[in-house]
Symmetry: D2
Subunit: 366 residues, 4 copies
Amino acid sequence: MSHNTFGHLFRVTTWGESHGAALGCVVDGCPPGIRFTRDDIQAELDKRRPGQSRFVTQRREPDEVKVLSGFVMDDDGVTMITTGTPVSMLIENVDQRSKDYGEIARQYRPGHADYTYDMKYGIRDHRGGGRSSARETAARVAAGALARKVLPGMTVRGALISMGEKSIDRANWDWDFIGDAENPFFTPDRASVAVFADYLDGIRKAGSSVGAVIEIVAEGVPAGLGAPIYAKLDQDIASNVMSINAVKGVEIGNGFEAARITGEQNADEMRMGNDGKPIFLSNNAGGILGGISTGQAVIARFAVKPTSSILTPRQSIDVDGNNVDVMTKGRHDPCVGIRAVPIGEAMVACAIADHYLRHRGQTGRT
Amino acid sequence: MSHNTFGHLFRVTTWGESHGAALGCVVDGCPPGIRFTRDDIQAELDKRRPGQSRFVTQRREPDEVKVLSGFVMDDDGVTMITTGTPVSMLIENVDQRSKDYGEIARQYRPGHADYTYDMKYGIRDHRGGGRSSARETAARVAAGALARKVLPGMTVRGALISMGEKSIDRANWDWDFIGDAENPFFTPDRASVAVFADYLDGIRKAGSSVGAVIEIVAEGVPAGLGAPIYAKLDQDIASNVMSINAVKGVEIGNGFEAARITGEQNADEMRMGNDGKPIFLSNNAGGILGGISTGQAVIARFAVKPTSSILTPRQSIDVDGNNVDVMTKGRHDPCVGIRAVPIGEAMVACAIADHYLRHRGQTGRT
Amino acid sequence: MSHNTFGHLFRVTTWGESHGAALGCVVDGCPPGIRFTRDDIQAELDKRRPGQSRFVTQRREPDEVKVLSGFVMDDDGVTMITTGTPVSMLIENVDQRSKDYGEIARQYRPGHADYTYDMKYGIRDHRGGGRSSARETAARVAAGALARKVLPGMTVRGALISMGEKSIDRANWDWDFIGDAENPFFTPDRASVAVFADYLDGIRKAGSSVGAVIEIVAEGVPAGLGAPIYAKLDQDIASNVMSINAVKGVEIGNGFEAARITGEQNADEMRMGNDGKPIFLSNNAGGILGGISTGQAVIARFAVKPTSSILTPRQSIDVDGNNVDVMTKGRHDPCVGIRAVPIGEAMVACAIADHYLRHRGQTGRT
Amino acid sequence: MSHNTFGHLFRVTTWGESHGAALGCVVDGCPPGIRFTRDDIQAELDKRRPGQSRFVTQRREPDEVKVLSGFVMDDDGVTMITTGTPVSMLIENVDQRSKDYGEIARQYRPGHADYTYDMKYGIRDHRGGGRSSARETAARVAAGALARKVLPGMTVRGALISMGEKSIDRANWDWDFIGDAENPFFTPDRASVAVFADYLDGIRKAGSSVGAVIEIVAEGVPAGLGAPIYAKLDQDIASNVMSINAVKGVEIGNGFEAARITGEQNADEMRMGNDGKPIFLSNNAGGILGGISTGQAVIARFAVKPTSSILTPRQSIDVDGNNVDVMTKGRHDPCVGIRAVPIGEAMVACAIADHYLRHRGQTGRT
């Protein structure tokens, strides 16, 4: 990626920290004529908003998006129509409670980017993690809400499929359950809620944290997007997903499982369908063969590490080179992976939207 | 990635198929004054060359590199010194045995990019997989050989750590064994050779194939390379590695394992070392925290799927929409993952070299 | 340029129209540790602000910049210090008087981008020229104010050197006069003020408009920035300057004059100076030889066409294909070139700042 | 530009010096299905080849292009069809006569990039000007030959319109005369040949050199290519043209003349044509309004400085800081601008081809 910009034709630039006046993004290269409402964007932002259950940070972040440019308002006064010029979106920061950052400003928290920031820049905005704040992801989600509308008929959905040692039962997969009011985990398995809740309560009460695995599925992606090597669709999805804070691994389709099986087991066989389109008899490839979409569902998974803010004291050093014990105080997310679901969706949607435009540009095919 | 170019300051463009006159790469943005020999490049190419054991394809590919531009020759007549202008390297294709591609030209091989190529481009060079040929990776390896010299003191090494159902014993890890003449697998575990050999002979004789997992370790990487989010060092490594054919997953440090453990287990603690540099008490982060290098070894792993060229007939369709059974004939690699080791090294070296220059550019720090 | 982003390491993305809530820019890749104040930015913006004399549009645009991210505040509460993360700056739009755009919305004004917008996007924000509004240039000027601080010791100044048929006398060149309260033209020649004023009053009263030529001079640019071909410093300056509205030509050093003279007359001779640095005996090259800075002043000139908004009726067509006569009503700039001076300065400063970082990145030399 | 790569979707990377084994280019992002022959490329190269008259350098450069990748051969064995993968083209260097470069290696020739190269890189390939050699332009011309085929119906032609103090008479403009065997100057004015020949013979015999102005005209460019600000079509044309060696200025349409006239004189009026397309009553805009093509002919002009290699001794310094007199020996081009005509055509063709694909990508309109 080129600094804080990603995408080649559908380009997103994000900016902002948790402790400035605002954060936001500029979406450049959006096709003209796309119709959307502020609510379309806000609905996506609300999915990742903290404070919605006891399992996520209690910070108040209303995350109200303002759309500042790149559209004309339709006569209904609600529908915005993109003009093809940059769409700038902004979210004000409001919950910046004054806080004594004295220790954090001088100590390097293990697992955080404190030390590496200082090594890179020689200066660091320690408040709220600076640019590394989870809050920055709001900008991605806003951009993703537009990206979803670029490729007609595309749906991008995500689910949390494991949390620490606990996993869902894929046999219970129900996309409709994910938005359910009784589902604080983005799990597609109703039976997993009680298990995850018990498990995470234990983690939370112990002042600990735990990681998670998220799966993103994009349907309605036509065959032909991507490139054989370099600018592969799977590669750009991987890059986009890895650009999220705390992500340590990504896989496409059966991913690492592909390394354990044989060619007979792995390659997806094909038959001709009645509608003149091929039918794949399986989808180990995750909808991408040789870097190019097959027309099947595109499937990506990624691993989110446990947040490093925990209540147990940990050995570290400070900026002066002294050994210290570091302990996080106050609010924290016991599993940041939960809120990573809408973020992952957004990043996958952006990658596919970009490749849709690139494909149209190079080949004239749609 | 922007088409077939990767990197931002250290930029590599590759071109070529297995069945044209040649393939090659252009390395642009190389710092001036770097000293190298043709043998430095050739030695890396020889590592990935086929035909060196019964476990890899028997195609003859001498892969002799020519360096065409971007250097002045030192008085010794052997040492080339980069001038800062583009370094073009070319490898001629020689073993293009005339072959009846009749069926392959019309059938979509399961697991291959045949179908997706046609969906993308509407035209396809079916000979040798076209641009998707494993042969293209020679260009990456040549570029990587230069990348290794950009950051003084950096060493990038790789190892095959599992093949299908078989894995190495990490307790036996011996980097020196990897170049051993009796090691056809790039395994760091001497004891694994017999196991892998038996296993792969079985696979090969059955006309089957199997995947592999490769681990790349970069040492001598200073703290401070990368960026907190977007243009993260781990992200660009992931992107580079995912750009390789047949790679379906990538992870940094403990990767997907991080999703299964707690914050206490995951975060690497620090103490001050006697030399004034911090000591990390573990390296779960794989040398990268918050997208920026820590000074520890940078560790990436990736999964290579089994080659889809197998002798067992597979269900598929042809370009006219008929159901057909596809069977690969002739030579094939039972485990393409083996030769992926030097390729992975090259791609990681290129990512780090690029970030070294970017870091120097933005911050003036080195 | 890649959409609305320019620069490679010092990257600027701008967004916004004259008739939305705001406009702004994101400056990404700024070195950490640069100290600046809001007043530093505002002072540059004030230079290009309209309404300051009868010779420029009377629109009220206070252009108050807000700096939203990418800095920490120094203890003085005034000085901002860049952290190396994106600096987002925003300027609210306030003077959007309600206006009947009925005719303009349907007519293609000659010399304006109305027709071409519709041909490109099939949709158009006709209010205030949409993205083509001169107001957008405020974002460039804000970015340029930061760019000026990237290369220590660099000064970038500009001057209007001709307006329509009238030109300055270079013998009278006085940089100090440009900021003079009695100088509404950015002319460096005090004697030219009366001439330009008379001339432009005539143009203005006739409801006409006129073009201008601007010269930008950057001093304190070290030798070595740029590249021999492609990514030439002069090329990137030209590209930046040509990205400004209404610019139709650009030249470096003696520019088109170089095409009229001989090699003897053109090449700048050199002698060794007492300080161990070379002295150039002339500066026809405009401080750039073979795409690389020489250490002399970098000189660029550009032509701004007359604004196409004039009171004389002009033949045109409307969106339905009818022949119509178009006449601009209301406020207009008789010479938009006047306000182009600070804009040109900003664009040149950005180009040089970017090349300074690129040079440091590739070569490690400063 | 990003190093030695230009274009966003139609991307060209060039490499090579005059004194290596070869030079060439990689054209990436070419649409699939474009039919071309080696002769199509060679014909363009032959236009810029030296040694064709007494007015250009007598170096023998056969410039035989090899197309190495990115195509399949049609059944006729002559027609190549692009596959959408990178097209690599290579031209071997043959006329590298061994020569004593002793003085040139140590002296900084006025007007050349010798001094600036050393300031940038600290190392320099002094043979033949290194990367700054006019020979590099062969790679651009080869790429341009492909670019011409991307936009169906586009024609890009160029002409030399002035040489030093002499100019053509535009009333005599005849495109057909440019390829005439009796026209060594790419002039469109038959009457100018004798004038230019006399003038240039004088220059040549005096060991001097002279500059030139070239005009490029692209016809068949549909309305809608480009963008209002940034990524303007005129801007990218300017950038491409300024990337050529020795170019010191560029203008679009009436260019600098626009700065001298009024809005009434400058804006091109429109009427509705009988075919339902608008007719512009003039073309001061050079076919581009607000950065976007109008459908009229796109017109660009650029100034080429006189070559700095002249027989008259010139004051300079050497690498050790001594004052020296520099005198060029041997062959030289009295007017490098002549051969710049096909180069300018190629660069304009590349810019338009790129914008055609970008426009199609973003808007889906063609």
